[in-house]
């Protein structure tokens, strides 16, 4: 069961949401509904299943409704329709008091412009969620300090927010979100107000923390590269509707429609796609007992210079290269067993294309993709690699 389950989540801004809802059910677009009723359909029928320990990214451009979506999860904005379930508990049906208690225990939030309390110290800011829960001051201070330590600000507890740089302020925001040990951390474009270098640092920090803490995080961004770097899965939002949900690689490799395709067109594919996306089955492999003549004939026919030779378990023994085979024939070898060379590069199925690019240049045979035991999965020919990087269907013969 997913940790957070969202069904049909919808928000209409305006005094007469019902009319807009009717038109939405008839499948009308946001702009038509706005024209016909004057009501703005900000978010329409969003379904999400977010698993425990997942960093789930909701990505969209301005006006896509992503901020509204995240605010409906903790009801900073009341949904017009739809359900939000956390561990099977209906957030959308909680009374105000129950909602407060839910926010205190299970939902915390990090904001785009940090939203620190300027009149409180860094320590008091980090302890805010605990203070609201009524946890006693010493314990709250200690837990806040611990949270500040994890974000590297343990020595600034007594400073005021305005004394810190933007990146450090957002670390405080993050510490405030972590201190309550809530099940779900909502992050509303937390790094987009930071300059690019600091943003990079903060992304690294979050990735590091997440590897350790394994929180369930809903992360909003308009930056596709950020989404790709951080997200276990990504949900692409357009005009308030979900266009596609999937891992970064799935979205790049198989965009749901032209909008997503255009969107991902300038993403650095080499840092998202892996060997799997450029791999094909080897056309043929040989065993060490095969004769040099047979292999050489096949290479000739295919106009290849080399081929992988596998043992009976499918593990790579080496490469049979044409010049070595020819030399072997002249000296009377009957099998290729002693003619193999180590002239190849190997990679795992999850090796990024950016790393493969460096390996591809130097060898006569395609890159071998192997599992942990050395078994050959497939090969990545240079032409496939280039095709995958340039977003063309990899139908090239290689």
């Amino acid at each position: 069961m997913p940790k957070l389950r969202v069904r049909g989540l919808t928000k209409v801004f305006g005094p007469h949401p019902r009319r807009a809802l009717e038109l939405m059910e008839q499948g009308m677009s946001r702009s038509d509904i706005l024209e016909r009723t004057g009501q703005l359909l900000a978010v329409a029928e969003v379904d999400l299943d977010i698993d425990e320990g997942e960093l789930f990214v909701v990505m969209g451009l301005s006006g896509s409704g992503k901020s509204t979506v995240i605010r409906m999860l903790n009801r900073l904005i009341e949904p017009t329709a739809g359900t939000v379930e956390l561990d099977g508990e209906r957030i959308d049906q909680l009374s105000p008091a129950e909602l407060r208690s839910m926010r205190q225990r299970k939902l915390s939030m990090v904001f785009q412009h940090f939203a620190l309390f300027p009149h409180r110290t860094v320590g008091e800011n980090a302890a805010y969620g605990l203070k609201v829960q009524g946890i006693d001051e010493d314990e709250a201070r200690e837990r806040a300090l611990h949270a500040l330590d994890t974000v590297g600000l343990g020595d600034r507890v007594d400073a005021y927010p305005h004394e810190l740089s933007g990146g450090m302020q957002q670390r405080v925001g993050l510490a405030r979100g972590l201190a309550t040990e809530a099940d779900i951390l909502l992050m509303d474009e937390p790094f987009s107000a930071l300059d690019p270098l600091i943003r990079r640092d903060m992304q690294d920090l979050l990735a590091e923390l997440q590897a350790e803490l394994n929180r369930t995080i809903v992360f909003i961004t308009h930056d596709l590269n950020e989404a790709m770097r951080l997200g276990d899965r990504i949900c692409v939002l357009k005009d308030g509707r979900v266009v596609q949900v999937g891992t970064g690689a799935e979205i790049i490799d198989n965009p749901a429609n032209q909008y997503v395709a255009d969107f991902v067109s300038d993403v650095d594919r080499s840092r998202v796609l892996t060997a799997v996306h450029a791999m094909r089955k080897p056309r043929r492999t040989f065993s060490p007992k095969d004769s040099p003549r047979e292999v050489l004939d096949w290479l000739d026919e295919q106009e290849f210079n080399g081929v992988y030779v596998l043992d009976s378990e499918g593990r790579v023994l080496g490469v049979a290269r044409d010049d070595r085979l020819a030399a072997g024939l002249r000296s009377g070898a009957t099998t290729i067993e002693n003619l193999l060379i180590e002239d190849y590069a190997s990679a795992q199925h999850d090796t990024l294309l950016s790393e493969l690019a460096g390996l591809a240049a130097h060898h006569t045979v395609p890159i071998a993709v192997t599992d942990e035991t050395g078994k050959l999965f497939g090969v990545v020919p240079r032409a496939h690699l280039l095709a995958a990087l340039s977003n063309e269907e990899a139908e090239v013969d290689a």
Binding site: V43, S62, G63, N74, M109, F117, L194
Partner: protein, 329 residues
């Protein structure tokens, strides 16, 4: 060749003044018990305040005022001015009158703040209250102040109480307005943050909104003080004792010297009250620790940040009102 009907229509006079006159008399008769009660309570408070200010010798009071100025401004300029000014007032024989005026200002201000600040809070949280209150405040501020005095004298007879009550009405609007403005100006995201961590509406108000609206609220209180001072002086016409009564007496006797003495007393009091309350209103005075901002990361102004952050357009900009009401309900 005017149509006689039209001519008649143009000549119609609404007997608004008569109606108001009748209405006021009816109110006086009907709510006499209420006005008596107010006269008794407010009059008592003013009397005791006045007593507290007049009983110590002027030298002691001057020292106290200078001390307050020192605490407020943490510099020597205002305390020195205070000593010189109040000793001068004393030398002119106006000190007791100044204290009477101060007592009226004090009571009027306290009442205006007690009523005005909560009204401002209410207006900031409720759109309907805000739109209802606005024209009333406009009315209160633009009605000539003499009219209040006239009404107050009708309701509360002559003396201190009509002075306080007319000053209360005349001076309260800034307390309401600047409280509302101050709370509305608090960064919406910061308020959201408090809600997001599960704070109760009261905790959001007292822990976040009011502290962050502090400068604006104190600016409002400063305005209240200045306006009630001006009204309390005018109330001299209605028999309120103090510098105002002295000035009125000087005017009726054409006594220029006395008029100038009374006037200087008002000026001294006004400058003192304004500077002291303005100093208290200065944001974060002495509360934030000094310390060099860290330089290992580049600090960003909000403007810079906004450049690479397209604001959520459309639906999301119109959410603020809904957000707050949704979250506080």
């Amino acid at each position: 060749m005017l149509n006689p009907l039209l001519a008649q229509a143009l000549n119609v006079e609404l007997p608004l003044g008569d109606a108001a006159d009748t209405g006021v008399r009816w109110v006086i008769d009907t709510f006499d018990w209420l006005f008596s009660a107010i006269r008794f309570i407010v009059g008592g408070i003013v009397d005791y305040t006045e007593l507290a200010l007049i009983t110590p010798s002027p030298l002691i009071m001057t020292a106290v005022f200078a001390g307050i100025a020192l605490v407020a401004t943490r510099s020597w300029g205002l305390p020195v001015f205070t000593i010189v000014a109040f000793l001068l007032v004393d030398a002119m024989g106006m000190f007791a009158f100044a204290m009477q005026t101060l007592a009226l200002v004090f009571v009027a201000t306290v009442l205006a703040v007690i009523i005005g600040v909560p009204l401002g809070i209410l207006a900031a949280r409720n759109e309907r209250v805000s739109t209802t209150i606005k024209p009333i405040l406009d009315f209160m501020q633009t009605m000539p102040s003499f009219v209040y005095l006239l009404l107050a004298v009708f309701f509360f007879r002559i003396g201190r109480v009509p002075g306080v009550m007319s000053a209360l009405i005349f001076a309260m609007p800034p307390a309401v307005r600047l409280t509302e403005l101050g709370i509305r100006q608090v960064d919406a995201e910061v308020v959201e943050a408090a809600h997001a961590f599960g704070a109760r509406p009261r905790e959001v108000l007292t822990g976040v909104q009011l502290p962050l609206a502090r400068a604006s609220i104190l600016a409002g209180i400063n305005q209240v003080i200045m306006l009630s001072l001006s009204m309390v002086v005018i109330a001299g016409l209605g028999g309120a004792p103090g510098l105002g009564a002295e000035v009125v007496r000087a005017v009726t006797r054409m006594d220029i010297g006395m008029g100038i003495e009374g006037g200087l007393g008002v000026v001294a009091l006004a400058i003192y009250l304004d500077r002291v309350t303005a100093a208290f209103g200065r944001e974060g005075r002495g509360r934030r620790k000094e310390g060099p901002a860290s330089t290992d990361e580049q600090s960003l102004s909000d403007d810079d940040a906004d450049d690479d952050t397209p604001a959520e357009g459309g639906g999301d900009t119109s959410t603020t009102a809904t957000t707050t009401s949704g979250a506080t309900s």
